[in-house]
């Protein structure tokens, strides 16, 4: 596998993550993990109207999962919920500038999957929304 996956930006986001931490009294929060790798993430959202005003995450995992979480939370902040709902693997590919490949796709999409799950939960109050694959 070529090493494009470890682009400078991913590594610097992994080593110096943005939006890491909690939001006090979030509109919604959701915990997800990837039991095979042990990647683990909690996403906190502050939602106002149709907009994601603020988003933070806590978690542990590989550079791909945590670096992507950092980049994604930067990218979605201030966007409308409907816009975020339309995001998929292609959004991640564009964001990180490459295709994570089958071995690491679950790592790269963990944050988006959790974010979308939390928005679904917020809108439908259904607790198992997060299990949907991207």
């Amino acid at each position: 596998m070529p090493l494009d996956i470890y682009a400078e930006e991913i590594i610097s986001n992994y080593e110096h993550p943005h939006n890491k931490g909690k939001i006090d009294s979030p509109s919604v929060k959701l915990h997800e993990n990837n039991p095979v790798c042990g990647d683990d993430i909690t996403i906190y959202c502050a939602i106002k109207g149709d907009r994601l005003e603020d988003v933070k995450f806590e978690g542990d995992g590989c550079a791909i999962s945590m670096g992507t979480a950092s980049m994604l939370t930067d990218f979605v902040k201030g966007k409308s919920l409907s816009e975020i709902e339309r995001m998929d693997l292609n959004t991640i590919k564009e964001l990180i500038g490459m295709d994570p490949g089958p071995a690491r796709v679950k790592c790269a999409t963990l944050a988006l999957k959790t974010l979308k799950g939390s928005l679904f939960l917020y809108q439908h109050k259904e607790p198992d929304a997060s299990t949907k694959e991207l």
């Binding site: 596998m1 090493l3 470890y6 590594i11 080593e15 790798c37 042990g38 990647d39 995992g61």
Partner: protein, 415 residues
């Protein structure tokens, strides 16, 4: 004892000619599965091309040949682990299947509510889950012997404490697939027997790498997997003495495991066939026979010595690199250790380590290694990276791994 000629051995393994990402394949994941020499591949091809037939139906030539080759493989397996006869060798799907057979047949018959079953914290899931399931069914108690604080071996006090609970069965791995620890099975089984326990030895990680003698170990049950021993996947061994096997009820019903079938009842075949219902994994058995022949030709004592040397070399190389930790090797002590090194690089997730290794053609495993209680509750880590060695690995392979560690450290700035 002369060392083994690894460069010559490498030539027997066609897969080692593969180029991955522009680099030669360096295979350091033999604890997961071993590569196959051309002698094994040829043997299976020869079966398919020349005497493919069902066994135990020897009315025509090729069926006789297939049956003979299958039984020859059992004879070789029996000799390989020093059982008294091939009747004591049951072929299963793999070591997991073998342990499940014991838990479901012997366990179902012998374990009662309140009985103790003793395993350890360093077991592979295959030697945990079948006992958990049995304990749940029967209301029995599953006890875990702790791993000592320096992660080198089983804790002596915990061992004594749990043996004093007089378990009905003690099921332990001979070699840990994460820490490489070689347990003192001989000593433990003596203690266990004196308290009336049966002893099951998980030999999945030992049988491929060192001489194994079920009598010397005091194993009432012994399990191993062909695919970790240069043989094909889908073929495992269960050993138990004739006496024990005679008393165990069959688990799976069907063809071959019976002598007679009437509408209302059936009678069982003799051992080992009583436990092998349906058409066997014939090519698997025959290929496994060739794998044993190959291992014998190299010599198990020489394999053990070779792996000690390469492990020693790898530890020395790793020790010199800052922020790299190997688990269970205080002072690089390789006594009582098999060729398995689990390690982490500070600040880098083990999966990232494995991906970067792969970019150099170096295959290692990262994860919990099917030993979640050990990795998560004893090591307190989400995952570790692991390199494991076999007869086709040499110092150059270790050097490639060391280069990959250095590369990882250049990619992650904080390390």
């Amino acid at each position: 004892m002369a060392g083994i000629d690894v460069s010559k051995i490498k030539q027997d393994f066609p897969i080692l000619n593969r180029v991955i990402n522009g680099k030669r394949l360096v295979y350091l994941d033999s604890a997961a599965t071993s590569q196959k020499p051309k002698q094994v591949i040829e043997k299976i091809k020869d079966y398919y091309e020349n005497y493919n037939a069902n066994i135990h139906r020897g009315i025509y030539k090729i069926s006789e040949e297939a049956t003979e080759a299958y039984i020859d493989s059992k004879r070789a397996a029996s000799k390989f682990i020093n059982s008294s006869s091939y009747n004591e060798i049951i072929y299963t799907k793999n070591a997991t299947d073998s342990i499940n057979l014991v838990a479901l047949s012997w366990g179902e018959q012998n374990i009662k509510s309140g009985d103790h079953i003793m395993i350890s914290e360093m077991e592979h899931h295959s030697n945990i889950v079948p006992w958990q399931m049995l304990a749940k069914r029967k209301g029995a108690v599953l006890d875990f012997v702790r791993v000592n604080d320096d992660l080198t071996s089983l804790d002596k006090d915990s061992l004594a404490e749990n043996l004093d609970k007089c378990p009905k069965i003690v099921a332990l791995t001979q070699v840990s697939n994460v820490l490489g620890t070689i347990n003192d099975i001989r000593g433990i089984s003596r203690e266990a027997h004196s308290r009336g326990a049966m002893v099951l030895v998980d030999g999945a990680q030992s049988t491929p790498h060192m001489p194994v003698d079920v009598k010397d170990l005091g194993a009432d049950f012994f399990v191993a997997s062909s695919h970790k021993m240069l043989g094909p996947a889908g073929l495992g061994i269960l050993y138990a003495s004739s006496k024990v096997l005679e008393e165990m009820p069959p688990l799976i019903g069907g063809g071959d495991m019976i002598l007679t079938v009437e509408k209302e009842r059936s009678t069982w075949n003799t051992i080992p066939w009583k436990f092998e219902a349906g058409t066997a994994n014939i090519e698997g058995g025959i290929g496994f026979g060739a794998a044993i022949e190959y291992l014998n030709s190299v010599g198990m004592s020489r394999i053990r010595e070779h792996e000690k040397e390469i492990t020693r070399y790898a530890l020395e190389m790793i020790e010199g690199i800052k922020n790299v930790r190997a688990y269970g090797y205080p002072a690089n002590n390789i006594k009582d250790k098999a060729g398995v090194i689990s390690f982490t690089i500070d600040g880098v997730h083990p999966h990232d380590v494995a991906t970067i290794f792969d970019s150099d053609g170096v295959a290692i495993r990262a994860g919990h290694h099917c030993a979640m209680p050990l990795v998560k509750s004893v090591l307190h880590l989400p995952a570790v990276s692991r390199m494991s060695f076999y007869i086709y690995n040499d110092e150059r392979d270790v050097d490639a791994a060391v280069e990959a560690i250095k590369k990882t450290k250049t990619i992650f700035k904080k390390v």
